[in-house]
């Protein structure tokens, strides 16, 4: 069944891409600076946070600008993918009611839209890497796997949220609150060391925390990822995806009636 569905999705690859790309274009269609907004947005965020945290709070971290920027971009992806994804079904009632293709295509393509936006943002990060002459080691080969895990977690969450949002519209508000909580509970602005040792275990139950930490280690600090972290990421992202799909496919038959 899974294989059959994957084949079906492969047949629809063109549609997934078209939907993702048109959504991406639409995001910047009526703004003068256009795509540059996706470069400016994290940059402005970075400046504010950098000023606050490195001067006022005296955070002492090597390459703190990069540390911060990578955290912002990765968390930004999760937040954007789940937010766009959450509205991918309720935002397209005419398509849901008038035509059929596998409904998860809406969600997948919205995650790809978020990915496109984040890839764009990453250009800033690459420029920073070059500017600060950060040495790159072979450990960067872990990065694609880590980022893939992030994508899968986001997709799993988006699937669940998009389906739940059809039936319970307050999911969107709850999720915004949870994202805010997550932003501060995840080591984005700070290192995990600020937590007491016994609390760190709990922080590390959050797969996004491990993803961000490992991404920094391998991309900025030239150190290898821990096998334990990689395993945890792999397992947890798989669980997110499976649970997301189960919720989605349970609710999917009612979409056209409920919207």
């Amino acid at each position: 069944m899974i294989v059959k569905h994957l084949k079906e999705l492969y047949d629809y690859r063109n549609l997934i891409w078209q939907l993702a790309w048109s959504e991406f274009k639409l995001r910047y269609k009526n703004s003068i600076l256009g795509y540059f907004w996706s470069l400016l947005e994290p940059l402005l965020m970075l400046i504010v946070l950098y000023v606050v945290f490195s001067n006022l709070m005296k955070v002492q971290v090597e390459y703190y600008q990069l540390f911060l920027l990578l955290g912002i971009i990765l968390w930004g992806f999760l937040s954007r993918a789940t937010t766009i994804g959450m509205f991918s079904i309720v935002g397209k009632p005419s398509m849901v009611k008038k035509i059929y293709f596998p409904r998860d295509i809406f969600v997948i393509s919205s995650c790809i839209t978020a990915l496109l936006m984040s890839v764009f943002e990453s250009l800033i990060f690459i420029m920073f890497m070059v500017f600060f002459r950060v040495p790159i080691s072979v450990n960067i080969i872990y990065a694609p796997f880590i980022l893939l895990c992030l994508f899968i977690v986001s997709l799993g969450l988006s699937l669940a949220l998009s389906a739940l949002n059809v039936f319970y519209r307050d999911v969107q508000f709850i999720w915004q609150v949870l994202l805010q909580v997550g932003y501060f509970a995840t080591p984005i602005l700070y290192t995990i060391d600020i937590f007491p040792k016994n609390l760190q275990k709990f922080v590390l139950l959050n797969p996004i925390a491990r993803i961000i930490i490992s991404a920094r280690d391998t991309i900025i600090y030239s150190s290898p990822a821990k096998i334990e972290d990689l395993l945890f990421m792999f397992l947890s992202s798989t669980v997110f995806l499976i649970v997301g799909y189960i919720i989605f496919s349970r609710l999917e038959p009612g979409f056209a009636e409920e919207i």
Partner: protein, 406 residues
């Protein structure tokens, strides 16, 4: 070979009395189970569509036609029963699904064509053709929001017809747009017919159904009334087969019309009622009562009277009006030189219409009984109505018998 198979299909919608769309409402209402109105949209539908066949689905509004089509298209799921489609389905339930106002014509064509299942290369090849066919070559990079609605429909239509469907589901797409557009749609449909595409066609346009569909399914309140040869099924629909007519027949019509006429400050009924007209009924070619007739079919108008006193030499008459109140035709027994000696008690007179010459629309009927010097016994002004359903493609109100000679 069978293309679509529908077996024991049921569809029930649950319509909650109070809708809970938020989690909060669901939690607070957890101990108070929600009350539902269940609505049986489809009841035990069974049919198959053979490959290359065109099946029409007709019925009143709310009879479940569109629901059935959506279930075949896999947009809605059956409550029980099974629908099997053995070929790829292309639904034309609405034109321009997924159109984005902020994207250009070319971009929208690409998205829409992809949704309709076309391949990338095919789309790129046909892009110019599509724009040309829609007459929008010069607007390739214009945003859709700057298009008139007519242009948008043209764009959607020219894109949609580029698809190469195996099974085509069509729902009232013809209903939008002007005559020229409808004609274009019908031409495309004929082309698909010739190419051997399996078509399921839902329409109120019985003329189109008659021309395109081999077989037709008649739905009434979610039930499958008849499935068979298109001509027979349309007759059944129009003439109701007895059961339908008794509920929506002429009996109910006077109330509706009465309110119309009353608003013009006129009592629609006058006369001293020495002879009272008690009812008027319409009968179709099968002898069933009804209020809907195919154009060019025969019809009988039966006037029931009750003469309270013995009356000698009364005149029965009728007048026919269009829906806007124009007098189209009038006649009476005097004009036809028919003498009625005396009338007493209850009875009826029939006016036989050999062939209804009207093409389409609703028509109002005045019936009256009066003396030779125009003193009315009972006059019902535009109190009765019937509908004429088109069978051909001629336009207008009336058929004028004619032939072309070239």
């Amino acid at each position: 070979m069978t293309a679509i198979e529908v077996e024991h299909l049921h569809k029930t919608f649950r319509i909650p009395h109070e809708k809970r769309t938020t989690l909060f409402e669901t939690l607070t209402g957890a101990f108070k189970p929600p009350t539902y109105e269940t609505f049986h949209a489809l009841k035990d539908i069974n049919f198959t569509v053979e490959e290359g066949e065109a099946l029409g689905i007709i019925g009143e509004n709310g009879s479940g036609k569109s629901t059935l089509l959506k279930i075949i298209a896999n947009i809605l799921r059956p409550s029980s029963g099974k629908v099997t489609a053995l070929k790829k389905i292309t639904p034309f339930l609405e034109l321009g699904v997924g159109f984005q106002a902020d994207l250009t014509a070319a971009e929208n064509i690409k998205i829409y064509a992809t949704i309709m299942g076309m391949q990338k290369r095919e789309i790129n090849d046909k892009l110019d053709d599509i724009l040309e066919f829609a007459g929008l070559e010069n607007f390739r990079d214009t945003k859709l929001k700057n298009f008139s609605s007519g242009m948008q429909v043209r764009l959607a239509f020219s894109t949609a017809i580029q698809t190469d469907p195996e099974i085509l589901l069509m729902d009232e797409v013809l209903a939008v747009g002007d005559m020229e557009f409808q004609q274009k749609c019908l031409d495309v449909l004929s082309q698909y017919r010739k190419d051997g595409v399996t078509i399921v066609f839902v329409s109120h346009d019985l003329g189109a159904v008659r021309r395109f569909c081999d077989r037709t399914l008649l739905l009434n309140k979610g039930e499958q009334l008849v499935l068979g040869d298109t001509g027979d099924v349309i007759d059944r629909y129009v003439y109701g087969g007895g059961e339908e007519a008794s509920t929506s027949g002429s009996q109910n019509e006077p109330d509706e019309v009465e309110s119309d006429v009353n608003s013009e400050d006129q009592n629609p009924r006058w006369g001293d009622k020495t002879v009272e007209i008690t009812n008027v009924e319409f009968y179709d070619k099968f002898g069933n009562r009804g209020s809907r007739f195919n154009s060019f079919d025969p019809m009988t108008i039966r006037i029931f009277y009750n003469a309270h006193k013995k009356v000698s030499d009364p005149v029965f008459g009728i007048a026919l009006y269009s829906e806007n109140g124009e007098n189209l035709f009038g006649t009476n027994t005097e004009l036809k030189n028919i003498e009625i000696d005396t009338l007493e008690g209850k009875g009826h007179v029939d006016l036989m219409v050999e062939r209804i010459p009207m093409i389409t629309g609703r028509f109002l009927l005045t019936v009256a009984v009066h003396t030779h010097d125009q003193k009315p016994y009972d006059w019902h002004d535009k109190q009765y109505s019937f509908d004429v359903i088109p069978t051909g493609r001629d336009a207008g109100l009336f058929e004028v018998p004619c032939n072309w000679k070239i």
